[in-house]
């Protein structure tokens, strides 16, 4: 009794070990596989074509059966299960087929390996009741049901099925099956605490193992026997078996068995207070535990490797995806590059256009500037001339008027009517001259700056000439000049009234100025070559070629004095010329010192 509290771990260990020992054979016995393969039409004919047959054969179930068989052989339980189910489905309505029982058998077997014992047992029992015909299969079914019950801990039922197997198949059973039968039965009895019977069976089993020279089997069997003895507190009987178990386990090479053997030895030695050896065994155990862990680690590694492989696959896929993405990106980049280039080209063209435009604008601007410069120079000359006229030609007559008026005032106070008359005439004359000079100046300036109102209209020539002459009649009369007009009343012309008047006024003015007393001036007009030509002829002092040249070339320095000693500015003729040209007409001067001057102005008729 002193050991009692210490037994529990041992028993537990035994349980652990036993369950492990039966959970482990996930291998269908080779003989069974061989037997099943003989039932498979594919295996019997052309194993290599099995894959070919999967696709498009009318007997798909045969292919499924073959596949389930192969999967079972290679311990791919899930695959085997799936194929067996498909085989069963394929054989629906043909349950009498021999293949049906084998498919069912595989299905049940897989369930067993999956530790779904209840399900497995149900399937086996169904198979036994209805379709199982092949004795090999029936034998397997019985022993498997027994094993399943044993795994479930239902030892009575397990024993019952083992006994059935013994009754039906022990005679003529192969060695492995027999050995398993003894072992399993011994375990059942042991658990049912029928120790004498189980002891006998264990010994029988050991004998068989010895015949077979199976170290692993011996190790397991010795351990089971040792456990039984130890459970019965027969320590002296148990200990040598534990030692033997350990010895065979060392040779067997099954690590889990060896590990359990060490642990058992350690527990036993500990209970015997042999602490150093117990410690040594424990250490060995722990070492193995670690190594099994390591092995688990290896398994895990393998799993990880698989995981890694799948990850690799995934990563390959990802890589391909990425490559595709990259290609897309590259395409995008290329299209973007192309777009960019296009935009750049357009931008460049635009820039070029802008530059060209700017250049054109600059050229235009510089042309405008040059033009403006010329205009400015002209205006400047004009301004200078206007100033010089104001300084000389305008200032002196106005001053003369001022002086004369002072003279008139003093003559009035002196009550000298004769003097007053003379001075008044002089003032009137000067004022008239000055006014016409001013008027010319104004029109000249306006004409040059394009500010003059200009509107050609139909003019009755005789009327216009009459109007102009009207103003000069007193002047002509004063010089006793005979003014004659010979204008046909039917002549009309197209000209601007104001400028025409200016021309005629100036010509008449000049004619009067440069004609001596009692001379004559004649206006004549005629239509020549679709033009209305007006001639102003005088019998005046005339001009020689030099002066004529000077007038034509606008050399204002060569101006001269009229018959009364008044200086001319040359303004008048220049203005006439300008105005005639603006009216699309012309002005020509013919002159000589003897006969006087003739000026001809021509205007368009229409």
């Amino acid at each position: 009794m002193r050991y009692r509290p210490l037994y529990v771990p041992v028993v537990l260990l035994v349980f652990f070990f036993l369950s492990r020992s039966y959970a482990q054979p996930a291998h269908v016995p080779a003989s069974v596989i061989q037997h099943l393969r003989q039932q498979c039409s594919i295996c019997m004919k052309k194993p290599a074509d099995s894959l070919l047959l999967v696709t498009g054969t009318p007997d798909q179930y045969t292919a499924h059966f073959h596949n389930s068989l192969l999967a079972l052989q290679q311990n791919y339980l899930d695959e085997a299960y799936a194929h067996s189910l498909q085989t069963i489905a394929g054989l629906e309505g043909r349950q009498d087929s021999s293949l049906y029982q084998y498919a069912y058998f595989i299905k049940a077997k897989v369930l067993y390996y999956k530790h779904l014992y209840q399900e497995s047992i149900a399937q086996y029992q169904f198979l036994l009741k209805s379709y199982a015909k092949d004795p090999v299969i029936i034998s397997q079914v019985y022993s498997n049901i027994g094993e399943a019950y044993l795994e479930q801990g239902n030892y009575t039922l397990a024993l019952q099925y083992l006994m059935d197997w013994q009754r039906l198949f022990l005679l003529g059973a192969d060695f492995v099956s027999t050995k398993n039968y003894y072992h399993n039965k011994a375990l059942c009895l042991f658990h049912l605490e029928k120790y004498p019977e189980s002891e006998a069976l264990f010994l029988k089993n050991i004998e068989l193992e010895k015949q077979n020279k199976d170290s692993l089997g011996l190790a397991i069997s010795y351990m089971n026997l040792a456990n039984q003895y130890y459970n019965q507190f027969l320590d002296s009987k148990a200990i040598p078996y534990f030692k033997l178990s350990l010895l065979f386990a060392k040779n067997a090479g099954d690590l889990s068995v060896l590990k359990n053997a060490y642990l058992n030895a350690a527990v036993v030695d500990e209970n015997r207070k042999l602490y150093p050896s117990a410690l040594a065994y424990r250490k060995q155990y722990e070492l193995l535990q670690e190594s099994s862990w390591n092995r688990d680690q290896v398994w895990k590694l393998a799993a990880q490797e698989r995981k890694f492989a799948s990850q690799l696959n995934e990563s390959k896929i990802t890589l391909l995806q990425q490559e595709a993405d990259l290609r897309d990106a590259a395409l995008k980049v290329r299209s973007r590059e192309r777009n960019t280039l296009l935009i750049a080209a357009i931008a460049f063209l635009l820039l070029a256009g802008i530059v060209y435009y700017a250049y054109r604008v600059k050229v235009k601007t510089s042309r405008i500037i040059t033009q403006q410069k010329e205009e400015l120079a002209l205006l400047n000359t004009m301004k200078d001339r206007l100033f010089s006229i104001v300084a000389h030609d305008l200032r002196s007559p106005v001053h003369a008027i001022k002086t004369n008026i002072a003279g008139i005032q003093s003559a009035l106070s002196d009550q000298n009517p004769g003097e007053v008359q003379i001075l008044t005439d002089r003032v009137a004359r000067t004022a008239t001259n000055t006014w016409s000079l001013l008027d010319n100046m104004l029109h000249w300036a306006l004409g040059h700056t394009n500010q003059l109102f200009f509107r050609p209209e139909k003019l009755h020539l005789a009327t216009v000439i009459n109007q102009v002459c009207y103003d000069y009649l007193p002047l002509a009369h004063a010089k006793d000049i005979h003014l004659d007009k010979n204008i046909p009343p039917t002549i009309f012309m197209l000209a601007d009234l104001t400028s025409t008047r200016i021309i005629l006024r100036n010509l008449l003015d000049n004619a009067i100025k440069y004609t001596h007393q009692q001379g004559s001036i004649i206006f004549e007009a005629a239509i020549r070559e679709q033009q209305c030509c007006i001639q102003v002829k005088d019998t005046g002092i005339g001009m020689d070629d030099t002066i004529l040249q000077a007038v034509t070339n606008r050399e204002w320095q060569r101006i001269r004095e009229d018959t009364q000693g008044n200086r001319s500015t040359g303004f008048g003729l220049e203005l006439c010329k300008m105005m005639a040209e603006r009216n699309q007409g012309s002005l020509t001067i013919t002159s000589n010192k003897e006969t006087g001057t003739t000026v001809q102005v021509c205007f368009p008729l229409t």
Partner: protein, 251 residues
């Protein structure tokens, strides 16, 4: 026969005085001088001028142009007008031109220019040829509605159509018989017949239109119409019906 009535719109007193006296010398009737826009508008209504002489600038404003525009905006107020200005610059003229003036008169001007401007304005207003009055060798006239503007000497006078005794074809154009005088008018008899009031003149012959009031007798035997002063005009049977109808209506 009465003289043309002229409204002078001018803010410069001396110029106004000069124009007025020149016009009066010529025998024109001159309305009181208007020196601002308000007065001009008032006088236009009260004096009822036949022609206006307008200074473009009144007290530095373009009021002359405003007046011209106002006058031209109503059909019944339309009159020939003359722009009077001392400005020769383009801008002023361009502004003035928008009112379609009938003539311009630039200061300083002489009486011939004034005369011509008036004639030109009337000619243009009547859509007559430019310089028609100036060119005419014998007394000429133009027709405005039912008034004849006749040039007598150097002056234009008005004759109401009703005062014309008869109209006689003279070559291409016609002559108007007023009292003992005859005035040329550059219109065909047909044109005049269309323009004159129907009830005033009767077509009596290929060459004559006679004022109804002037007809004293119709001598059918001799094919002539005897006028109030005893003179006789040829009468064509062709127009008999028209004449009889006119008289029956008159009775």
């Amino acid at each position: 026969m009465e003289a043309l009535k002229i409204l002078v719109i001018e803010d410069n007193e001396a110029d106004a005085q000069r124009i007025t006296s020149l016009l009066q010398q010529k025998g024109y009737i001159v309305c009181p001088v208007a020196n601002n826009l308000a007065k001009a508008l008032e006088l236009f209504d009260s004096c009822k001028p036949d022609i206006c002489v307008i200074d473009i600038y009144l007290h530095g404003q373009h009021d002359g142009i405003t007046f011209a525009r106002h006058m031209s905006s109503h059909e019944q107020n339309k009159r020939p007008f003359i722009f009077l200005t001392s400005a020769t610059d383009k801008e002023t003229f361009d502004t003035a031109r928008l009112t379609n003036p009938f003539s311009y008169l630039l200061k300083p001007f002489n009486e011939l220019e004034l005369q011509y401007a008036i004639e030109l304005a009337v000619e243009k207003f009547a859509r007559e040829e430019d310089g028609y009055f100036a060119m005419a060798t014998e007394p000429a006239s133009v027709l405005l509605q039912d008034v004849f503007f006749v040039k007598r000497g150097n002056t234009l006078v008005k004759i109401m159509a009703a005062e014309i005794r008869f109209i006689e074809v003279d070559g291409k154009y016609c002559k108007l018989a007023y009292g003992a005088d005859k005035f040329v008018i550059q219109r065909s008899l047909k044109q005049l017949q269309d323009q004159l009031p129907v009830k005033t003149f009767l077509r009596t012959h290929r060459n004559y239109m006679v004022n109804v009031k002037e007809i004293a007798r119709i001598n059918l035997q001799d094919h002539e119409i005897v006028l109030q002063d005893g003179s006789a005009l040829a009468f064509s049977r062709r127009y008999m019906e028209d004449v009889m109808q006119a008289f029956s209506i008159l009775k």
